[in-house]
């Protein structure tokens, strides 16, 4: 497989502007002749479908939810970054670019990230024009807050519901186009395969989740905006329906999958309470603006009520280890910090897997009403789930899988290694490197959907000879047959175990062996166990019900079947990456007291140690067949603008 990132030449800051001019256009009168399929209706999908329809293309949009407004972007709480520099605290496009590259631990492409920073300001303008009710100051202008990994305020927010408000903005734009007949919307419809004609993406196979009908849809291009794969871990902060099926089935058709081992663990989630748990709930990172993270210094104190532990007996470990970023250290670092103190036996709560997030100082300083105004809905949510009042006692938090930086490989145009198939938002791999900074996912989803695809897709159309096949083409019949085969096999196994029990076992395995810390031994154990579990799944799963009806067990079975394969690729990727970077922490590769960076005080013992000489590349995996090893392709990462450095947040 040849990976050409198609990064334009020229100075970094001019690449996107110049490239927009160099790309070809499609005449407005011809646009309606091009059919586009958009899969997914989150921030990336809704914004792409709306924008392409506004331009005049013939758009169809698909989502598994009952309404496009429910996609999981809706759950983002904290905010969206943009280099507006409204607070006049030194922000610029270049600084947002630099923070994002550094936050990603120097494993993202410079050109993509710079473009993201450039369009960030336009996103805010667009959203405000749509009526997104961002928080404002009394003067009527927009308010900003700070977020992890940045020393300034560049995050725009709408109470604790920024994702919801941005998605409703994109959904309203999409709805306008649906109402005008420019977008055909297919809710409760799941994509089960992508169809290639002459090596190019020309359509998809879907299942109507209400009546079970399998349908063929043809187009000139397919745009996947299908989100991340965090649910491979079973417990994550993702919605329970989030899945990797669209992306993974496209991967099996030839789309390279890049850096699957880059998974983000969010430091502030509500700890697990028992085996019944179906998902984990995030408490926004914005809480770390006012909350202080601590555990007892002495593990003997862990069982005591937090109020009884004197100030001098508390270890505010983030403030201690990272004095300049303190509680706002980036997510990977804050998560590992929590794991470390819990591994030492200093964790709190019934399971010992928890740390305190304490607001008592902020309440003393600003008063309870001020804290309530800032985070009231989050405190309410915490109380509903745990039964505890966080105004009176500290929250207990623990890291959980939250976001996946890895995804389908795309070039600068966001086109995958299948020509004609584009991948946007969390589903691609391109902008966050090995770790994503808070408030950057919303930015990327909307940047891709509003501003990037609208420039690069026309270029693809203008460069290709127009050809939208009939859905009777043999490639469609073959793909449909394959999809039907999977469904009827799943329904005919009639085994003894539920889909959920398989998913839970797989997730636990992946979390233990390929979660917050990874090592060669554990990864090899996982790689031995996953194929066994997969075999058992296909022999012993019990999927009740029929094909031709609303059958949630069947939907779930198909998704878990894909996780059973995907998990193996994830572990292979983690195994081959013999370094630590961002969300990928290999215990064999960490700073020790022998390193000069630790001796000089630049960084701490136990921090992630990159190996730029060997691993400064994107690992793009190629599917080679069922139960076969994936083939590794490497795209070297070249840094011209920034110097690769050891990350330090001290």
């Amino acid at each position: 497989m040849k990976l050409d990132s198609k990064i334009p030449s020229g100075p970094l800051a001019d690449k996107w502007t110049r490239h927009k001019f160099d790309m070809k256009l499609v005449n407005p009168a011809n646009r309606r002749k091009f059919k586009v399929i958009v899969v997914g209706s989150g921030l990336a999908g809704s914004s792409a479908a709306a924008t392409l329809a506004e331009q005049g293309y013939d758009v169809s949009c698909f989502c598994y939810q009952d309404s496009p407004r429910r996609a999981h972007s809706i759950a983002a709480q904290g905010g969206i970054n943009a280099a507006k520099n409204y607070p006049n605290d030194g922000d610029s496009v270049h600084r947002l670019f630099y923070d994002t590259i550094k936050g990603g631990d120097f494993r993202a492409r410079e050109a993509n990230v710079h473009r993201l920073a450039e369009v960030s300001a336009n996103i805010i303008d667009q959203c405000v024009a749509q009526g997104v009710p961002f928080a404002r100051e009394y003067g009527g202008l927009l308010d900003n807050r700070s977020f992890g990994g940045a020393q300034l305020k560049r995050t725009f927010y709408a109470r604790g519901q920024t994702g919801q408000q941005l998605l409703l903005g994109a959904y309203s734009a999409l709805s306008r186009q649906i109402g005008a007949g420019k977008v055909k919307m297919y809710p409760r419809t799941e994509m089960l395969d992508v169809v290639l004609v002459d090596g190019k993406a020309k359509g998809i196979i879907t299942r109507n989740m209400v009546d079970g009908k399998i349908e063929r849809h043809a187009a000139d291009a397919v745009v996947l905006c299908t989100g991340g794969y965090g649910n491979v871990f079973y417990l994550s902060t993702n919605a329970v329906g989030c899945n990797v099926t669209a992306g993974y089935r496209a991967h099996k058709r030839g789309a390279a999958f890049a850096n699957p081992c880059y998974t983000q663990i969010h430091p502030t989630c509500i700890p697990v309470s028992g085996d019944h748990q179906s998902k984990l709930t995030l408490m926004s990172e914005s809480l770390r603006n006012d909350g202080r993270v601590w555990v007892p210094k002495d593990k003997a104190d862990c069982g005591r009520a937090p109020a009884d532990i004197a100030e001098k007996d508390r270890d505010y470990y983030l403030e201690r280890k990272y004095p300049s970023f303190g509680n706002l250290a980036p997510r990977d670092i804050a998560s590992r910090g929590a794991k470390e103190v819990c591994d030492e036996g200093r964790g709190v709560g019934p399971t010992g897997l928890g740390v305190y997030l304490d607001f008592s100082d902020a309440i003393k300083r600003d008063g309870e009403p001020a804290i309530r105004a800032r985070y009231g809905n989050l405190f309410d949510m915490y109380e509903r789930i745990t039964g505890e009042n966080a105004y009176q006692q500290p929250m207990r938090i623990y890291p959980a899988i939250h976001y996946t930086m890895g995804g389908l490989w795309v070039d600068y145009h966001l086109m995958s290694s299948i020509p004609g198939m584009f991948v946007l938002g969390e589903a691609n791999f391109s902008d966050h490197g090995a770790n994503r900074l808070g408030a950057s996912a919303l930015m990327q989803g909307l940047a891709d959907g509003y501003f990037v695809i609208s420039a690069t897709l026309p270029h693809y159309f203008a460069s290709e000879k127009k050809f939208c096949p009939s859905t009777d083409h043999e490639a469609f019949l073959e793909a449909e047959e394959k999809v039907r085969g999977i469904i009827s096999t799943l329904l005919s196994i009639n085994g003894r175990r539920t889909v959920r029990s398989f998913h839970r076992e797989l997730g636990k395995l992946v979390w233990e062996k390929c979660g917050m810390a990874r090592d060669k031994k554990g990864l090899n154990e996982a790689l031995k166990r996953i194929p066994e579990l997969r075999r058992e799944f296909w022999e012993n799963v019990n999927v009740p019900g029929s094909e031709g009806s609303l059958n949630q067990a069947l939907e779930y079975a198909g998704r878990v079947a894909d996780y059973m394969e995907f998990a193996e690729m994830l572990c292979y990727d983690a195994l081959q990456r013999e370094e630590s970077c961002g969300g990928h922490f290999r215990t064999e590769h960490q700073f020790t007291t022998r390193d000069k960076e630790v001796k000089s005080g630049y960084t701490n013992e136990g921090e992630a140690k990159r190996r730029d000489d060997k691993f400064a590349y994107v690992a793009a995996w190629e599917y080679t067949g069922p139960n076969k090893r994936w083939k590794l392709n490497k795209e070297p990462l070249v840094y011209k603008e920034v110097k690769m450095a050891t990350r330090s947040y001290k």
Binding site: T51, E54, Q65, D66, S67, P68, R69, R70, H72, I74, A75, K84, Y86, N122, I124, D125, Q126, V128, A129, Q130, G131, P133, A135, R136, G140, L142, R159, Q161, S172, A173, S175, R176, I178, G179, M185, P187, T237, A239, V240, G241, S273, H276, Q277, S278, K279, T281, D380, M381, R384, I385, G387, Y450, S454, T498, R500, N542, P544, S549, L550, A553
Partner: protein, 247 residues
Amino acid sequence: MHLILKIWRQKNAEERGHFEVYQAEDVSEDMSFLEMLDVVNEKLISEDKEPIAFDSDCREGICGTCSMVINGDAHGGEKGTTACQLHMRKFKDGDTITIEPWRASAFPVLRDLVVDRTAFDRIIQAGGFVSVGTGGAPDANCTPIAKPIADLAMDAAQCIGCGACVAACKNASAMLFVSAKVSHLNLLPQGKPEQDRRVKNMVAQMDAEGFGGCTVTGSCEAVCPKEISLNFIAKMNRDYGMAILKG
């Protein structure tokens, strides 16, 4: 704890439904309501029975997917709480719990507790937007918006579109939903140019979908998981009246 569940079962939109009784054993108080149903479903599957179909997605109270009437209350009667955020510590050992789908002719049942709420999407498509295309938007700070207005618009914009307001209303009226959507945009300067046609078109679509009339009993406000205020209905009625007067 042990619970007795009376749950609405219905094969599809055409067939008649009925209640069935299930036993939920070993329910822990830390479980969410939907996790309790997950456990019941696991047991049904292992007995080769069809699990109970119900909608849910984010399970943190923001996507608006979950939708069930629990003991007569949409979302279970806990103030400002969706069904997915309802926890079992609110119930007692031995309780009998009745679980039904949203009941409204504009929300036909698809299966068991799953209903079709696309009527809400069609109302938005009729006018729940600002007609602005991508690109060319002025700088975000060009238009200052007084904080109280922005905050009020945000109060309305919090609506998660779950449909509990319809389920709670004796007339299955969608006024709280539509008024929240209309008010969010009509309050903001960005939404002003289209305020009259927005309210007229959205109300017309609401009526066309078969939602009932509003008699301001406030049952919608009582069950709304985002505690959307009845005041928005008053505001929408005013906007609607003004729009009709202007012709």
